[in-house]
Amino acid sequence: MQRDYFDRVHFWGRISSVTALAVMLGIPLSISLHFGIWPQAAGVLNGLLKIIPMFWSIAVIEVLTYAPLLGAGGTYLSFVTGNISNLKLPCAINAMQNAKVSPSSEEGEVISTIAVASSSITTTLIIAVGVLAFSPLLPVITAEDSAIAPAFKQVVPALFGALGAGYFSKHFKISLVPIAAGVLILLVFPALPVGTLIPVTVIISLLGAHLSYKHTQKKEKKRQNQA
């Protein structure tokens, strides 16, 4: 990686994260100023105490899990616009796979950033246009009894089925163990949130791949010695 580009991405990424933090905190601040209402601190703290232990621990796990997959630029952007596991990450994975670049390469960093940025712009525009232009119609389209509702309920299996097919066909040997492990874990803990399951299956997959890699290396060494 060219050092200067890498450093620049972190420089701009840090500025953008801090700016995004200010923008985010500015939202409730503006609402409070606009309405002239400052909610009771005790009530807000009460609400926060219930979610912060879970949300903030997940944040640490997510940063550690997703950063190596998204690259620096992709990570800074993804954590601002959100919907990472169900949108930004599959998008970046698909883009790197199509461009035939590795996430650990300079090209992977660039392709991942382009994919995440395009995805973020599209999502922001679709939500904004949807809210501004179609808000009277949206409840009808997305209603429980709407004709297209069953399709949107299955967006995640559709997305990960298509994405998985590409990956599993290329890495079949190392794919079976993490899927089997995930299914087994869910058989015991069916309601486990997918966000909690991801780090577990990622670690199992990495361990399986490491063992498989070591085994292949040993075999190759043996073959070389025999030759």
Binding site: Q2, Y5, S16, S17, T19, L21, V23, L25, P28, I31, S32, H34, Q40, V44, N46, K50, T65, L69, G73, T75, V80, T81, L87, C91, N98, E106, I111, I114, V116, S118, S119, S120, T124, L125, I126, I127, V131, L132, L138, P139, I141, E144, A151, A158, L159, G161, A162, L163, A165, Y167, H171, P190, A191, L192, V194, L197, I198, L206, A209, H210
Partner: protein, 256 residues
């Protein structure tokens, strides 16, 4: 006019959306320029951007649908803002419920919030609860990337396999959920069942031959569209199944 959807709220929402677009565009331009320096073709980068945008359409509409689910209680603007920055439906619902409970409101999201103080409190709880990654990233990301660089620099073969394995681990979690995970009891079709498995296998069934066609006949232009096309076709299968298969069979969820 409802205070939750007054002109100020719409202005706030538009400003947040504009910020996200400008920031994404900034990184897009930087990456594009660097790609050119690295020798990546404009076609590859253009295909990446177009494919990513196409790929995003269906999930983004699903996100839009979640905005609507929160709109009953919070009005449409605050969920729009929250799901534009960092937002994620499971976080937002939990945060709002927690905020309401903090103020002793037991009805949850079933009833529209009419009290400005509770609405403002919900905005504070939803925001402060979700900003932590933006504190962590400036402090940690460079160090994480350096550590990764050290590992990948030593053995590129292992580095490539490691990246693939990490992706597979992530995908495996979602596939396992579609096969065996329990869903939200209040949402039909959220848990593992006929529809999730059918859609999953339909997506695989469309993607594999499309990928094979791309490889066998070297159809470069089709490659970026194989994945979004497979995803959308699988959703069409789900739609047809819901219409054509017996109702009792379609709603079958073995994990609830």
């Amino acid at each position: 006019m409802d205070f939750k959807t007054d002109a100020f709220m719409y202005l706030l929402g538009s400003a947040v959306a504009a910020f996200c677009i400008v920031q994404s565009f900034f990184f897009l331009v930087k990456a594009w320029r660097q790609g050119k320096k690295l020798g990546l073709s404009s076609r590859t980068m253009k295909n990446t951007a177009v494919s990513a945008a196409l790929f995003t359409v269906a999930p983004a509409i699903a996100v839009l649908a979640t905005v609507i689910t929160l709109a009953g209680a919070l009005g449409i603007v605050l969920p729009w803002i929250r799901l534009t920055v960092i937002g994620n439906i499971s976080y937002e619902v939990t945060a709002v419920q927690s905020a309401l409970e903090g103020f002793g409101v037991k009805s949850g999201l079933a009833v529209a919030i009419a009290d400005r103080e509770i609405f403002t409190a919900a905005a504070w709880v939803m925001t402060v609860g979700s900003v932590f990654p933006l504190v962590l990233l400036p402090l940690l990301l460079k160090r994480i990337q350096k550590k990764i660089g050290k590992v990948t620099g030593r053995d590129t073969k292992w580095a490539d396999l490691m990246s693939a394995a990490a992706f597979i681990g992530l995908i495996a979690a979602f596939i396992a959920r579609a096969l065996a995970g329990a869903g939200d009891k209040n949402i039909a079709g959220d848990g593992a069942g006929v529809m999730s498995v059918l859609t999953l296998f339909a997506a695989v069934g469309f993607m594999l031959p499309l990928q094979k066609i791309c490889d066998k006949y070297s159809i470069k232009w089709l490659e970026p569209f194989a994945m979004p096309a497979s995803m959308i076709l699988a959703m069409v299968v789900a739609l047809l199944a819901a219409q054509l298969l017996p109702a009792n069979f379609v709603v079958l969820e073995w994990r609830g």
